[in-house]
Symmetry: C2
């Protein structure tokens, strides 16, 4: 703080970001303060060597370390965490040391496809932790604590206006004095505003976590992200506890019309989130106090229910949400069990039935950035579909029902441990070979299992194209059960719960309705812009089906269009992918607002083309066989 | 909303404020939207005629009304509330129609002194209510409710960024549809930011109230302000319920060191505020939902306790507050019983013992705007003093104790109904003539009564200059009571509570300590800038003593300096005056920040001059008689 300290300019290349620092400043700290994110895997202790940078011009005081070879050292490579700035310097950050690169690598591993990831962003999470070593007050300088802190921050970096929470102020006096004014401040950076939301004693920079949630009508999926490393470190999935109030959004909205209904539904989803948080904290051994931010991606109805916004006008014409961009909300005010400083951000939505989940799916997969005409299908309860490219994006929702998430199916379940995710039938006489998530005896069947089962039964003639069971086949696994005709996937002795695991004709008809709604949805959407199915250059499929979706089988039952197979990509949970990137980068968050405003929504519920297309698709794969030329149907009776 | 509507420019003189409005817009609405405040006493119904304006150029459609004479009408005078804009117009608002004028008139009545009021501000309350008539959604335009509202507001007036509360969003859908999108929005204007904090159905513009509180260590004083009229419509005073935890701020801070102590003290002051709110709502018949804002002026310790900020570092060297400028706080989060949208603003403080109350006192009385060297004395428990003018302001706090608010005095009480506020003694044998607030039998004695009693007893030789009772006089009202020597102000038969009302020698010694602390305080402060008492050009006294303070008696006991009497002004509760103006005008609020940063604080508790000056002042009026040449002491023994 002495005025005699020399100041030097540090320029970080290739982005040319400049900052002024005091002589002797640690180069990694300088980079963090300038919001240049260097990959410091070990937290700046010098152990890992991933923060190596190239000193282009100028002088740093930096020892040769074992992580750097002699020749690299001679060429100017240094560990940023071990370097002190001793003159004006220009620093080149190699691609290998950029935190973006580390994040990208992991995301590409996750998505199996490096072409399907949003590009053009920097690692810039909305939460930044900054270590401050502040000169303590004296009788000569007894400025109040808040002003002292802001004055210090202004010294190290220029911020036009930093605001502070009252919650922060309450902790300030005691925390600052605990380690003689050596503190870590937690900053929330949102739009142009910076707000100090928390303070901790000592250096707590590496304890910086965020939660992302994909709140679906049927299931809620969460991930715990380490913001200091740019990676997910835990995940969990649970049924949305709102299911007790109805399987689909219409039933939930109706429930809200009853006294106390909205409050009950809000509590149900918050309870679900709290359960997931509990699970992820337990599996990762992260303390609850380390959570600093929450990103939620969800359909419009789920956002309304989470925030306790009256949803009744969403379901009646002219289908108007209360809002599409939500203000940041303090998560604890909703009942979410995190510290008071944690804000919750909802990805913006487009319309009553086009939610933030579809926006984050598009943003995450980068479809809005590329030229090819892409069909994006979210195979979930609400069946959202997007068609378009970097120039325009059309979107619609074709309520598919919960079938693909194992809902409304007698032995259906989420794609979690115990779920049959794949089935192999050699022929119409054979015993099924089951693939169960986790490898234990089966408890039920999930979405991908249902698709594969239906395709196999159809292929081997055990069901008709109308979805009726071919009882004449006499297969010992075909029988009449309590709910009519059914196929036994696993008898009680083989199952994990001592009960037969079956798939009934009623389940099959539910599946046909679900796939017909989705097919009719994208067929109508493509037609609405005067395109044909064959104009589609790329099909991106999002959904949560265990490890993967069998595209061939999905086409065989008419869920996906019969196009050349190389056009298909499955990206797993696209909504959660987008939400994760939004938590890692304010750049991606900004893109999500742009994407939301780019999207034009088509209302299917009053669309005549959709209704006739839906009826025509109530067959396996379709009433019009010419639409599925590659699908061969087995030995039908 | 149709794009064909013609737009016209309206210029309001003398300030030259311009706005663009649609053809046919009501001129009063145009003025409100442009933040030009015209005095519309009747709420824009046309009844009162106070909104008359002069049309300098251009055309308005406006009938002749009975409030406007024929010649005035011919000269271009029109009632703004009855006028519709039909071309570009230039409008002159006469001084008589400016709301500032109305506010100023009332404030001058209150303060008895038009020279002692902050000048150079416009009526611009932080809360603005705006009537919006929005086109309802349709299938062709089913933009979400929030965007629809913001789009409409953007049409009527340019705001760079309006943010909305979640609380507001929760009410939006139902409220907007209640009267087909005719709504009143409540806007909070703070710094450069505008936030929509509430929405009501229909035209609720005239229901706009604010609360101001002066939270003193001993007493809390509140006023309920009508922001649509610029006037206080109710007031109430209560002892600060924190008194149960100690009479002075040191005792209260000590209490906070115990487990749960801070929470108890916070609850105590919030309970006091809630009691006052209850009383003011009852007496004014205003609904609780009409309250939109709260301004608090208080000493630094009281602000810390209200916001539950740990006060322990305020009382130990180097005396550091957590903050001086507090963020806006949602009042209900503190337990204050108002609607969720109401924010609480605390006037900024200067140092640990120089609070927002003294800042608002200076701002309200305008001392920072004028040249004369002024001594400002707040005669309260903490005894804050300011010395300076428009160029510089020195300040100090001389802990006077609660004597002047009736605290620590056997029969002391606040200046409320039943308090003896004045006493007349003809000579040393006579019976006292009492003046009681409210005119009922007395219940106790308040600050002004105590000063007048002491001066009278001194003048007539019933006490010595050391404050000892002259028992040899043999007056039948002088006696030895339970606490030693005492003077009976009222015997049980005459009192309002059936008990003798007495003033004891112990009370007198408390008074001497209190007045000595204040005298020593301002004497030290004046000396610290190398000035003499005779350099003081003006003395402004703030305090709450019923209707007035007897300056002559206050000098007689050495509470005020012996200066020419024309230099003295008593402004009543200066802190509350300033808080009221801050609630009426963002201009005044901005000034309060400037004043807080102008003030230099002198710490008296470790000052040797103060200690010797205090000892010298422990006499009536002073040990050094030459300092009080005009004071004649009576027939002392």
């Amino acid at each position: 703080m002495t005025e005699q300290t020399k100041k030097y300019k540090v320029v970080f290349m290739p982005d040319g970001i400049e900052t002024i620092v005091a002589e002797g400043t640690n180069l990694l700290d300088a980079a963090i303060a300038a919001e240049v994110h260097i990959n410091a895997g070990c937290g700046g202790t010098g152990a890992c060597g991933t923060c190596s940078v190239l000193i282009k011009t100028g002088l740093v005081d930096s020892p040769k370390t074992t992580s750097i070879s002699n020749s690299d050292y001679q060429n100017g490579l240094r560990q940023a965490c071990k370097s002190r700035v001793m003159s004006d310097v220009v620093v080149e950050i190699p691609a290998s040391s950029r935190l973006e690169t580390a994040v990208l690598k992991k995301e590409i591993q996750n998505s199996h496809n490096d072409d399907l990831l949003c590009s053009g962003w920097h690692f810039s999470p909305p939460i930044e932790k900054r270590l401050l070593e502040i000169s303590p007050p004296s009788l000569q300088d007894n400025t109040n604590d808040m002003a002292r802190l802001l004055r210090h921050m202004d010294d190290s970096q220029t911020h036009p206006e930093i605001k502070a929470d009252l919650h922060f102020a309450k902790k300030l006096a005691a925390t600052a004095r605990h380690d003689n004014w050596r503190v870590t401040a937690t900053l929330l950076k949102f739009d142009e505003h910076t707000r100090i939301i928390n303070i901790e004693s000592g250096d707590m920079r590496t304890t910086n976590y965020a939660l992302v949630f994909d709140i679906g009508t049927t299931a809620v999926r969460g991930q715990l992200l380490d913001l200091s490393q740019g990676q997910a470190i835990a995940q969990a999935t649970e049924y949305n506890k709102q299911i007790s109030f109805g399987a689909d959004v219409i039933a939930r909205i109706t429930q809200c019309g009853r006294p106390g209904g909205l409050e009950k539904l809000q509590k149900a989803v918050v309870d679900t989130l709290n359960t997931l948080i509990e699970q992820m904290l337990a599996s990762s051994k992260v303390a609850r106090s380390g959570i600093n931010h929450i990103v939620v991606t969800a359909n419009t109805v789920m956002v309304h229910l989470l925030l306790a916004l009256d949803p009744q006008f969403l379901r009646t014409s002219p289908y108007v949400p209360t809002l599409s961009s939500t203000p940041l909300v303090k998560a604890y005010t909703l009942g979410i069990e995190v510290e008071e400083h944690v804000r919750l951000y909802c990805v913006p939505s487009v319309a009553s039935y086009i939610g933030g989940d579809i926006v984050s799916g598009i943003v995450g997969s980068g479809i809005h950035q590329r030229q090819p005409l892409t069909l994006y299908i979210d195979i979930g309860t609400n069946g959202e579909i997007v068609f378009g490219n970097s120039e325009w994006l059309m979107t619609a929702a074709a309520s598919a029902g919960p079938t693909f998430e194992g809902g409304g199916i007698q032995c259906g379940m989420l794609a979690t441990n115990g779920a049959i995710e794949d089935i192999h039938l050699e022929n119409d006489k054979t015993e099924p070979v089951l693939k169960v998530i986790g490898g234990d005896p089966p408890l039920g069947i999930c979405g991908s299992g249902i698709i594969n089962l239906a395709a196999s039964l159809l292929k081997h003639g055990l069901i008709t194209q109308a979805g009726r069971f071919n009882m004449e086949n006499g297969h010992h696994r075909l029988r009449i059960g309590e709910n009519g005709a059914e196929y036994v996937l696993a008898f009680d002795a083989q199952s994990g719960n001592g009960k037969d695991i079956v798939f009934s004709e009623i389940d099959m008809l539910n599946l046909i309705r679900s796939k017909a709604a989705l097919y009719a949805g994208y067929h109508t959407l493509v037609s609405s812009v005067d395109k044909k199915m064959t104009d589609i250059e790329q099909v991106v499929i999002s959904g949560t089906f265990g490890n993967h979706l069998n595209i061939e089988n999905a086409i065989a039952i008419g869920l996906l269009p019969d196009l050349p197979r190389h056009k298909f990509s499955f990206i797993g949970n696209g909504a959660l992918l987008g939400a994760r990137l939004i938590a890692f980068s304010n750049d991606v968050r900004n893109q999500s607002s742009i994407v939301a405003s780019m999207m034009t929504s088509l209302e299917l519920s009053e669309n005549a083309d959709f209704m006739s297309s839906y009826t025509a698709a109530m067959f396996l794969p379709h009433t019009e066989a010419a639409l599925f030329p590659s699908v061969k149907i087995g030995n039908l009776p």
